[in-house]
């Protein structure tokens, strides 16, 4: 069984919801990322999404845009991101790692080669924000060969026939984008999210996580009532920005937020 599948199966058994933190690889420093991944895992993360930095993060709000800029200024490359996962896997063989990024860095790396190298490094899933399922077959085929799940997004604007199409292409879990907007947007409407989740549930058995706009224990708890998991990105990356020159402080701030999110979700 894949790590992602095992993760959601265990959660279901224990009637718990997945807490899915996101950080950008190489932010605030290349040397900080692996330690931050461990902090996340040790403080309640069930699955971790790691951003591959890109020069033009079109789907991201200002907080994560700046994280991409910091990471690129630090000289992060795709190879370095895969090295970080390999390093993390030396001591953590259970927490699924999902890489999240834009198509161009993967395309230039080469689909087959990227899939092989990512699989060998211990990557479990991949979200490519600007790759719709229609155009994804060459990449999903390459991922399937090495057991990497290709995770697709569903948006508030996605109509039912398209949800079916996306669910068919998706592996691992579905990521529901809770707001029309970029990452870190502030206009979360819980009731609307729940209505949409009901629609999606009727069309797929895959677990559904919800992200964009979840920033604290209260929003995590509300969304966690209906979703299988919540993704928290900008709130964590904000802490990275605020504590970028003090790694111990950053680690403890991240641990605090994770624990509080965990508590909210487990209530």
């Amino acid at each position: 069984m894949s790590r992602i599948k095992a993760c959601f199966a265990t959660l279901k058994e224990n009637r718990r919801k997945a807490l899915v933190p996101f950080i950008t690889a190489g932010d605030p420093a290349i040397g900080a990322t692996v330690s931050l991944l461990h902090v996340l895992a040790e403080n309640g993360a069930d699955l971790i999404e790691v951003g591959i930095p890109f020069s033009d993060p079109m789907a991201d709000g200002p907080v994560i845009q700046l994280a991409h800029e910091r990471a690129l200024a630090n000289g992060v490359t795709t190879l370095i991101v895969l090295d970080m996962v390999r390093e993390f896997r030396k001591t953590n063989t259970t927490t699924p790692i999902v890489l999240m990024g834009y198509l161009n860095p993967v395309e230039i790396y080469g689909y087959e080669k990227f899939a092989q190298d990512a699989g060998a490094a211990g990557v479990d899933g991949m979200i490519i924000v600007d790759l719709p399922p229609e155009a994804s077959k060459p990449l999903t085929d390459a991922f399937a060969k090495v057991g990497i799940d290709c995770i697709f997004l569903i948006a508030p604007t996605t109509k039912t026939p398209r949800i079916e199409k996306i669910a068919r292409a998706a592996r691992g879990y579905l990521y529901y984008v809770s707001v029309k907007g970029v990452t870190g947007a502030g206009n979360l409407d819980v009731e609307e999210v729940n209505r949409k989740l009901e629609t999606i549930r009727k069309l797929t058995d895959l677990p559904i996580t919800v992200g964009f706009g979840i920033k604290d224990a209260a929003t995590a708890r509300l969304i966690g009532e209906k979703a299988d998991g919540v993704v928290v990105g900008s709130a964590l990356v904000n802490l990275v920005a605020q504590n970028q020159n003090d790694l111990p402080a950053l680690q403890s701030r991240i641990a605090e937020l994770m624990q509080s999110l965990r508590q909210g979700l487990d209530q």
């Binding site: 890109f54 020069s55 033009d56 993060p57 079109m58 789907a59 991201d60 709000g61 200002p62 845009q65 800029e69 690129l72 490359t77 795709t78 834009y102 198509l103 161009n104 860095p105 993967v106 395309e107 230039i108 790396y109 924000v129 600007d130 790759l131 719709p132 229609e134 155009a135 697709f152 997004l153 569903i154 948006a155 508030p156 604007t157 996605t158 109509k159 398209r162 996306i166 984008v177 029309k180 907007g181 970029v182 947007a185």
Partner: protein
Amino acid sequence: MALNERDFLHTPDADGNFGPYGGRFVSETLMAALDELEEIYSRLSKDPEFQAAFDKDLAHYVGRPSPLYHAERWSKQLGGAQIYLKREDLNHTGAHKVNNTIGQALLAKFTGKRRVIAETGAGQHGVATATVAARLGLECEVFMGWDDIQRQSLNVYRMKLLGAKVTPVHSGTKTLKDAMNEALRDWVTNVDHTFYIIGTVAGPHPYPMLVRDFQCVIGREARQQCLDQAGKLPDALIACVGGGSNAIGLFHPMLGDASVKMIGVEAGGLGVATGQHAAPLNAGRPGVLHGNRTYLMEDADGQIIPTHSVSAGLDYPGVGPEHSWLKDCGRVEYVAINDDEALAAFRKLTLVEGIMPALESSHAVAYAEKLAPTMPKDSIIIVNLSGRGDKDIHTVAKLDGISLG
């Protein structure tokens, strides 16, 4: 011709592909809006009433047809081919951009959306969008890189006078590509009531197709005007290429005329060899940015690299996907002209013909100066004079050490 004509005459395919280029690479939130736009456009583009409304606006609001002017004095001085200028600079708002914004504004009206947004580099597309928005009473917001705002202050003020909000973009390289990122972010957020008027033949399908279709009026007119005035087709077409909408507009209606040679001129900046340029077709490689697969300026890790051009409208690391395909097919040749050559051409055409070209168009003018002397006196070159140069006076004056205040 190496390839069968249908390889590039009947593009894009149903998924928006021009050969391996084009497509639709956007976040999921935008897919529904693009499907809707594709459906509306596919219906309206075959609707005679829509076409009549478009033609009427082009005739009475834009002032089309734009003249095809035989630049006799300049041609004589160069001593070769006869050069004709397609005077898109004489359009209302001073550039070819308005052909497209008129068309997309008509589409916006059909969708019932009350707000339009646009990205702009030199400000010409921003002005053309603000213009049609003013005319239709639509709310308008234009995203513009902070660096471009500094070098195109005249157009920024024009947009404001037209009632548009001009939002500076401080992220990334602070130029056109970052303005497009920000416009996409806004669209994702306000997609329910906002129509995104993309200014060039790039972006996710169906934009490269519909912007091309609206700009093809340039080439249809030029072809007929050349037949009327000279009794034959031109031997060569020259147009500058940033995203490439003025070039595709001139080229596309003549792609099937095998005798017509076509040259797209990219911004060579400080020289292609220096790396300080905006010439992806000359020195880039294929990748995915802003919703389409196309030639890009990128590093070995797939990160988009900063571009340089004296002309804000050409300062873009990508290019329309159809140009990428026409390059690979060998149907169009793509060359580069450096900043200093473009600036010299700007001065030359102003002095010799009394026509001040935009710095973007000056790249095409500069290449014509190289090509014309190599061709016989009875041959014909059409240069697309895509915009007028008034907006660039501050840039040129600054290089002359003159402050216009």
